[in-house]
């Protein structure tokens, strides 16, 4: 259990800058998720914390030790790889024992730790098998077990669920969250899957192009995205972005013109000018006979509890809204949407987000 501090980290591969001047504080015992699209530098950052990749510049602190020059084994971290990286020629028990043997742990202690990890992860009956004789999910648990036995200060996970099928992924998500509660260790989890991030994280770090876009609690990220990038990356279906042609302030709130329609938002008008973009999540754009926005239905997705409506504005722009579970809409229908102005967002020319909802 340790805090992690990254201070002005920079990483270059040759002339390519994968991480540019990144600073981040992770609290002791916190579950942090690095979230971002492919190639944004999540793995690189995690590997630098692990010591598998050298930093080009900057400092890494784990607990009160400065570690960026220490070899991986001495940083007090354990990592679970996407490919699991189990030792194929060793049994499950030997896989877990290897790290402990290397630091000269007593045999009885090793056995006790393996038994404990096997109990937590339900591996008791598999201890004598080789990785080749295990299913994907079992291998995954062995990889986690190999991390647990070392009682590390920090757990690092690099997309550990991406090789599992959807059911198993959902279950393992819960297991890892439970593990975090039992062990209370600091955990850093890398994923490009926002559902994983939203459900598991206490703190999400949204990254893009080697930079941090936003750090915050999951709901904070969802409700008050700091940038247009975060707004578009988090949420399924994605937020609608509509170009604003004109604005006026009504009682301190911004009203924006999109096409022929004036849409009231809950965003404070003060200080907002220049080219703006209106952001509305699909759940804030509801089918409503008295709605202000007219559109033509394109695709209807029935999810059972609700219906997702893909529609086209008169200007030719596609929007995604929601209807109730028994929606009768079909392709080609005319439809009207109303906007929940309390849940609107406005993005300025620099992509910064302004929100109707105030911070909690």
């Amino acid at each position: 259990m340790s805090r992690i501090d990254l201070v002005n980290i920079n990483k270059k591969f040759g002339s390519y800058e994968a991480i540019a001047d990144l600073s981040l504080a992770i609290d002791s015992g916190e579950f942090v998720v690095f979230l971002g699209p492919s190639g944004c530098g999540k793995t690189t950052l995690l590997r630098m914390i692990a010591g598998l990749e050298a930093v080009t510049a900057g400092e890494i602190h784990i607990g009160d030790r400065r570690v960026e020059h220490l070899p991986p084994g001495q940083r007090g971290v354990a990592m679970v790889f996407q490919s699991y990286a189990l030792y194929p020629h060793m049994t499950v028990a030997q896989n877990m024992a290897f790290g402990l043997r290397n630091i000269g742990t007593e045999k009885s202690v090793i056995e006790a730790k393996i038994a404990e990890a096997a109990r937590i992860l339900q591996l008791e009956t598999l201890l004598d098998r080789k990785p080749g004789q295990l299913s994907g999910g079992q291998r995954q648990r062995v990889a986690i077990g190999r991390a647990i036995v070392k009682s590390p200060e920090v757990f690092l996970f690099d997309e550990p669920l991406s090789n599992l099928d959807a059911m198993l992924r959902a279950r393992t998500r819960v297991e890892i969250a439970r593990l975090h509660q039992t062990l209370g260790a600091t955990m850093v989890f890398v994923t490009h899957d926002q559902i994983e991030a939203m459900t598991m994280a206490q703190k999400i770090v949204v990254m893009s192009n080697g930079k941090i876009e936003q750090v915050g609690a999951p709901l904070d990220i969802y409700r008050r995205p700091a940038t247009r990038f975060v707004a578009s990356f988090v949420g399924v279906p994605a937020m609608n972005f509509l170009d604003v042609s004109n604005t006026e302030a009504v009682r301190g709130k911004l009203h924006v013109r999109v096409g022929e329609t004036m849409i009231p938002t809950g965003v404070p008008a003060a200080g907002l000018s220049g080219p703006l973009t209106l952001g509305i999540r699909p759940e804030a754009l509801r089918v409503d006979a008295n709605g202000t926005i007219a559109a033509k239905v394109d695709v209807v997705e029935r999810l059972g509890d609700k219906t997702i409506i893909h529609a086209m504005l008169p200007g030719g722009q596609a929007v995604v809204g929601e209807d109730g579970d028994t929606s009768a809409l079909t392709f080609g229908d005319q439809v009207r949407f109303s906007v929940d102005s309390a849940r609107t967002h406005v993005f300025d020319a620099a992509g910064r987000g302004h929100h109707a909802e105030v911070a909690p």
Binding site: P72, F81, Y87, G99
Partner: protein, 281 residues
């Protein structure tokens, strides 16, 4: 029963191929059968009727005589010492070099790697004269060292092991680094065990090659007590007039081939894989 079951419903093409393979195998085995047959015949009978191989009576007298000649035992021991030592050394050098080229970054790595591969293009015969002068200069001819050392750094071995180590996922070794394993420990406890199939391939080829090698031992070992089996047998066979007869000669050959047979029986899986080229994948 299993075999019968398998051929039922086999496409015609595969059946023909199977028949062709069986015929080839028989053709291939004939000389071996003939050699073994002759070795079991009485020498004087063979002089009268060399075609009597396939009819009784048979005798093991030639093999009993074999045990009485002291030189053959010495040559056999020489071959065994030379082949085993050479194979072990080739494995050590190839694994160390291969792992270095595959996993350790050092300046000029590619250049050195390519340089060591250039050796693949140089035929062994081309370097036999310099090699001879070299061992002459150190006065090492007629020693085990001279028979064992040449070729322990083999381009093929280095290439094979480099390719194999490169194919081991880097993440497995990274996991070992996080598990506090030293560089050498990773090599010894992770990489080497995973490379056993490639090492078996290389070891078998090397052992066979050394056991059957003729040219270098012929040149280097000039004293009969340093002969290897190949050289020793060839020496007796060129003196066929004075030798104890064809059956005896063939018994010697069977004896010389025994290690090959034993090797094959024990490592059949690896030999087949090696010949099929599957070990490189």
């Amino acid at each position: 029963m299993a075999t019968a079951g398998k051929t039922v419903g086999m496409p015609l093409g595969e059946r023909l191929a199977l028949i062709a393979v069986i015929l080839l195998a028989i053709l291939w085995l004939l000389p071996l059968v003939w050699v073994t047959g002759v070795s079991l015949k009485n020498n004087t009978e063979l002089v009268v009727n060399p075609g009597a191989v396939f009819s009784a009576p048979y005798t093991i007298q030639n093999y009993i005589d074999l045990t009485k000649t002291s030189a053959l035992g010495t040559w056999f021991r020489n071959s065994l010492i030379v082949s085993l030592s050479h194979t072990v050394l080739v494995l050590i050098v190839s694994c160390l070099a291969g792992y270095g080229f595959a996993r350790i970054e050092f300046p000029g790595r590619n250049a050195v790697f390519i340089f060591s591969l250039v050796g693949l293009a140089i035929p062994g015969q081309a370097i036999i004269v310099p090699l001879h002068s070299f061992f002459n200069a150190f006065d090492l001819h007629n020693t085990y060292a001279a028979l064992i050392i040449p070729g322990i750094a083999t381009p093929f071995g280095i290439f094979l092991m480099t390719a194999y180590f490169r194919a081991i996922p880097a993440e497995i070794e990274e996991a070992a680094r996080l598990d506090n394993a030293s560089r050498f420990k990773i090599f010894w406890a992770i990489a080497l065990p995973l490379a056993v199939p490639a090492m078996a391939t290389l070891g078998i080829f090397t052992f066979l090659g050394t056991w059957n090698d003729y040219l270098w031992p012929l040149i280097s070992a000039t004293r009969p007590e340093m002969y290897t089996l190949t050289v020793g047998l060839a020496a007796t066979q060129t003196n066929i007039d004075q030798s104890e007869g064809l059956g005896y000669l063939m018994a010697q050959s069977v004896f010389a081939g025994l290690p090959m047979l034993i090797l094959y029986i024990f490592f059949q899986k690896y030999v087949v894989r090696a010949v099929a080229g599957a070990a490189i994948r």
